[in-house]
Subunit: 169 residues, 2 copies
DNA sequence: CGCTTGTTTCACAAAATCATGAAGTTAAGA
DNA sequence: TCTTAACTTCATGATTTTGTGAAACAAGCG
């Protein structure tokens, strides 16, 4: 544990968590700064921070934040919102971020699929390599079919967990 | 189509496919050279090439190949094999590469999970951020449970496809 | 209107990544 | 044991990526 009363926030620990987890996401291919912004929001109770707050937490320039949030917005992991009559943008974690992540992954596979189709043409369907790629395409298609069901069952499970944890759905 | 008899290999087309698909994989976070080696093997009928052949196909130095295959071997996407009484290493695409890729992804989530657990400690389970992470961990656990079933069903589907395509299993 | 605050863009510098050639290692075959 | 082929390691230089400060831009608010 830490020097903080049980249940409270351990500031240094949270800071370390942000850097460690963001580091892992970066290793997995995510842009470094985008990963740090994402995790900073994840560790925030309101799941919401302004650009200036992000710059402060992460100790970087506003310019770096600007680039990172543009990316995160594009891939739908966060949302930009501005309260009427304010100049400050707030960045929110999307509520269904895991669903969005999966969706994003599917977009990726769709793009791969179309390139693989061209590859099959170039190789010829009857070659062994052609067959192997045909199987790869079939695998992507299979995953595409399965995912809705998997996510559906996750929603059920999540609702059940929320009930157990005593949270509103 | 191409200038090649139907069913045959279109060399230039294959070359283009290798670069395009490898490029996509690189964009998705894979090391560039590793991606090129992987796709070169994918497009090879025998799914097998020596280091020298890879260097030739991809027009790079043997040193670059050496680094790429080290990575691909580590993450279990290819296998190195040497025929007895020879000095040449062959690199093989793993037969069950998609299964391995999924497995690898799970390893990743396992690592994330343990960092998230530390994060929950630092935040406190009762904070909103703590709860959000608890849900994230639950999502990873859920995926971990679902995957074996998904892959099982894929194997069935694949067997069926092979029968339809007239291939041995 | 213009001042002010918050954000974005852009040119540049710092840092990380990548592929290379050359030297080093290993083991086959003579 | 010596030679040689195949691969690996390592220092280096090139390229790419990343974050910065400064300047431009936008929009509340007086």
């Amino acid at each position: 544990m830490s020097e903080v009363a049980a249940g409270g926030r351990d500031r240094a620990g949270v800071q370390e968590f942000i850097e460690r987890f963001a580091g892992q996401l970066a290793d997995a291919g995510m842009q470094r700064m985008a990963a740090r912004v994402f995790v900073a929001l994840l560790a925030e109770d309101a799941a919401r921070l302004t650009a200036a707050e992000l710059a402060e937490v992460l100790q970087v320039s506003p310019a770096a934040i600007s680039g990172a949030v543009r990316y995160l917005t594009q891939v739908d992991m966060i949302e930009r919102r501005r309260e009427p009559g304010s100049r400050r943008d707030y960045y929110f974690l999307k509520a269904d971020m895991w669903y969005d992540m999966i969706t994003q992954r599917e977009q990726l596979m769709l793009r791969w699929r179309s390139i693989l189709d061209d590859g099959i043409d170039a190789l010829g369907v009857h070659t062994r390599a052609g067959q192997r790629m045909r199987e790869t395409v079939a695998f992507f298609d299979y995953l595409h079919e399965e995912m809705p069901g998997v996510m559906e069952r996750w929603k059920e499970r999540r609702a059940k967990l929320h009930r157990e944890w005593g949270l509103s759905d």
